[in-house]
Structure formats: structure tokens, C-alpha cells
Amino acid sequence: MAEGLQQVLTPEGELSGELPFGIDETRRLYRAMVAARLYDRKGTALQKQGRLATYAPFEGQEAAQIGSAAALRSDDWMVATYRDAAAMAYHGYPRTLLVLGRMGDERGGSPPEGVNALPPSITVGAHMLHAVGLAWAEKLRGRDRIALTYFGDGATSEGDFHEAMNFAGVFQTPVVFLCENNHYAISLRRDRQTAAATIAGKAEGYGMPGVLVDGNDLFAVYSVTAEAVQRARSGGGPTMIEALTYRLGPHTTSDDPRRYRSGEEEAEWRERDPLERVRRYLAGADAWTPGWQKAIEAEESAAIEAAVEEAEAVPAQRPEDIFASMFAEMTPQLKAQQRTLLESLA
């Protein structure tokens, strides 16, 4: 069922397939990728300065995230991971909250009403089942929202991946599984994660279509995701997409990739930079200039700075707040513990 690799734009920026949209939309999504990269670099910088607790860079995976997120309707569900800030921000999860969460503040996990995205999953695997359940709920409630869930190549080894795929197949829930195969799970190479030829090929074992796509090709990712979303929305059931991509940076800011991969390999993938690919295409269509690049970088940087400032300006939670969200109403035990804490701080 897994077809050959889907590609629309070669790494050189040449068309090799059908464009899903025109120049204006391309420029809009290119800009979103630029913004994502700026955000990502800011994240690493902030962490190095001690202003974030941890950060998991996604540089190199912007097309996989933006291309797929762009195929969603704004009220669809997104269930993503610690590495999917580009997709989440695109789907409307406020950057301020993403930053706040990374600072180590629970309020980062609380998106505004109307943003249908769970807080980024830290555990590997479990969240795919949540997406299946959310999609199922929409189906049972007779609505046509779908759920898109992101996960890595490593996550495909977890039992929960299997159970999620299987439930989606059996109950035909409107869900799209998007695997960002960035070739590493921390230090483990994709070829040691599974002996399967492709991850997309695993879909057949669950009776659903599996699609292999060049994950650094914005157009191709959009196209295959849009098709899968359409299938889900129209009652055609789930799809799994494997987006071949690469994490150009470390696993997190405390990881050192030199321990497990070569500079040459990184350089090779740097050549396949998903932003540069679209930039070349736009330039070839006379729709990109250095001046425009500078302008959007300046504007997006300013927006990101503003989000960071806003996050950092959020006053600390009150000590009593650590008890206040365990249940709708605090139990007597929690109330007593809250009192004890407040007394001890008095």
C-alpha cells in the first residue's frame, strides 16, 4: 500500500509534481517556515541563556510541520509532541504559551478556547491514542472535525503506536497519523529502530493507506496531508503518512549529536534544507527578493520577541495554584496540604 516517495519539488527547487496551490499561498507558507526557524533558533538561544528549562529544536523539519498543519481546518484537532512547535503555532497555539511551557510553567499547557490542540506530548507514543479518541468523539458527535497527530520514527516502536493505529483502523476514526521520520530517536538511527523497509509500510498491517513523502518538500507534504484529511473528513477512515526529514540540530539542548552521527551526514541534509528549496522555487518564479526576506525576517523576529517578552512578563503562579487543578474541586486532603504549604511560606 505504501506507494513510492511523493515529491513535488526537487531539492534544487525544480518542479517534479503537481503544485497544490499558487504563488501567494506559497509565499505565505514560506513565511511561516521562516518564522518557525527564527522561533526555533530563539528557543535554543533562550535555553542557553537559562531562560527556558529545556528546548527541543526542529530545524530541518519545518516543511513537514507547516506543510501538514496547513492542510487542517482551524477547528480540527492537533495532537503533537515536544518537537512540533512549528505545527502547533501554525494551528493557532499561541507562541507565548509554547514559550511559557518551556520556561516550566503549567499555564503553557492551556491554549485559549477555540484552539483545538492538546499541550505538547512529552511521553513518546501515548498521545497517538488520544488523537484516535478525539477523532472518534467527533465522529460519534456527528461533526466533521478530524484529528492530526505527529510523532517521530522512535515512537513507532512503542506499543501505544500499535494500539492507536489498530483502533483507528478498526473503528475507522477520522485521524491522520503523521510520522516525522527525522532518522533519529535521540541517538538511535532509524535503521536500528525497526527492520521494516519503511514506516509507511506499517500502515498496511492496520488496513489503512500508508504514504511516503519527502518531508522536506512543502508542497508534497501539503498534498498528501490534504488528501488524507479529506479522506478522514469524508468518512474514509485513517491514513498514515511518513515524512522523510532530518533533525539538523541536537535532540534537545542537552544532547551532543557528534556522539552518534557524522558531520558529513548533517551536511548532506543541510543541502536538502526545506526552506531553501521553496526559496529557490519562489526566486525562480520572481516571487522572492532579498529585500522581502529581510522584511519578513524582521517582522517575524519582532513578533517572536514580543511573544517571549509576553511569556516572561507573566507573573509567577501563586503557590496555592499547584493544588488547584488536580480536580474540578479540591479534595479535603488537597485543601489541607495547600494550607500547610501556605503556612510554611508565611
Binding site: L118, A126, A137, E138, R141, D160
Partner: protein
Amino acid sequence: MAQAINQALDQAMAADPRVMILGEDVGRTGGVFRVTDGLQDRYGEDRVVDTPVAESGIVGAAFGLAVGGMRPVVEMQFMGFSYPAYDQVISHVSRIRNRSRHRFTAPLVIRIPYGGGIGAAEHHSESAEAIYAHIPGVKVVVPGSPGDAKGLLLAAIDDPDPVVFLEPIRLYRAIKEEVPEERYTTPIGESRVIRPGEDVTVVAWGSMLREARVAADLLEEEGIDAELLDVRSLVPLDEDGLISSVEKTGRAVIVHEAPRTAGLAGELIALIQERALYSLEAPVARVTGWDTVFPLKRSEHLYLPNPQVIARAVHRVMAA
């Protein structure tokens, strides 16, 4: 008790279209204990769902269903098969409200038949309530009678937060008791004095209540007046109910089927001595399962607390 639970589920489903049931064999056959008997016929395959054999999948999908606005009641076939879903419970079900500061909630009920006494195969007789009670963010209740089973289950389904609902297998068909027809709830978090007494407090839950009641009868014949307290709600615990009983009697025996080490008796004893040490006239005694695997049929009588053992523990605390 199986019938009372069935009735509660029926009433909940009739009243609220968001309520649905998921589990292994719950639909077509009505569950291995027939607790969900007839419900699929009544409410359809979309609302009474026979799932693949995948416990983490059941709870993980139910989590998504709950966040998405449904009210799933899931069944784990036996407590011994609930462990593959433990990660979903401790890492997600119990935490999404806190993680999202009330933005998302997972109001689901996880029904788990538990406990021994039916001579079953390995993994079919376990009492691991302590590992659920230790999870911040879930409530844990255990009915000891059909009436409570119905009322507590309806309360659990109404509850805006996740509830682990433990069903003592031994009591499914053991107790004949008229249960009120109409819908009612029994508040979570309240213990119940089943038998008032002056000399010693015997604390128990689930099927151990039956053993404790027989023990109390034996003791009565000897002139010992035991108060029998049904905890019912392990989390949150009715501390005031527990303490006031022990303050009155000055002595206590805690009974559970689960292994002793790190079992819930420890928690209850910690509370008692924190709040009522000076009322204690003797060490609180524990009557529990041993720190062994639950034995197979031929030896299970050696494991399970019984009235004699409970009575003997009471003698000990009375003598001290």
C-alpha cells in the same frame, strides 16, 4: 451487585447520550461477568463498544473520547489485565486537567473487577488498589454492597474527573439486596459505619467487608462490640469518619486483601496515628494478604483474610 451496576449503567446511558461503554467482550456477550448484559442491544454498537484486546488502547482512546466531550465508562476485564493501561492512567488520564490548568478534562470511569475468592487462574484475583490510590488526580472507589455499587457508579459517571471504580468479583453474585429502582448517587468521599460498636474499629472495603461482618458477629458472641467501617472511597478518604471512630473505640484493625507491604493499611495507620495517637490503646493491627503472589485455587484459602483471622487480630488489639 452485577445487576445493580448494570442498572446504574443503563440509567446513565438513558439519561445522557455522551455516556458510552468500552471494553473487551462488553457488548455482544455483556462482559465475562455479564455486568453489561443487554446494554448493546439497547444502546447500539456505537455506545457499547467491543474493543480489540488492548488495554492501553482502551484507556488511551477513552481519554481522547472524554477530552472530546464523551463520558466513557471503560471496563478492564480483570485487575490483573489493567496494568498495561497503567501508564495511560498515571501519565495522562490523571493529569490532563492539571497539565492544561482546567482547559481539558478527562471525565472517564475505569471499572475494574478485582479481588480473589473464586479459585481463578493466575492474574484473575489481584487487589492492587494501592497503585491506583497513589496516583494524584484520580479518585478510587470500592462499593461493598449492591446499593453502594449503583450509587457510587452513578456518582462516578457524574464526576467531572476520572474515577477508578473497583468491583469486588466475589460480591458480584453473592449479595442479594433490593436496590432502589430510581436513579440516585452515593457521594464519593464518605465512609459508612456498617455496624456501630464501642470496643474496636474494624476498617475494610470491598469483599473484605463480608469477612469483617462475620468476624464482628463472632466477636459479639464473645462480648466484643466491634464497629465496622466501610471506607468505600479510598481516594479521597473520609479521614474524619475514620478518626472519629477510632477516637471513640481507641483500637483499630485494618483489613485488606492486597499484599501487606506498601498496601493501603499503611496509609490508614499513618492517618490514625497522626490524628489520634493519644486515643490509641493498642497498636493498630493489619490483616492483609501476604507479600506473595496470589495463590492458585488450592492455596487461596491460605492467603485471603477470613473472619477467624480478623477476629484473632481483634483479640490481639483488645489484649494489648
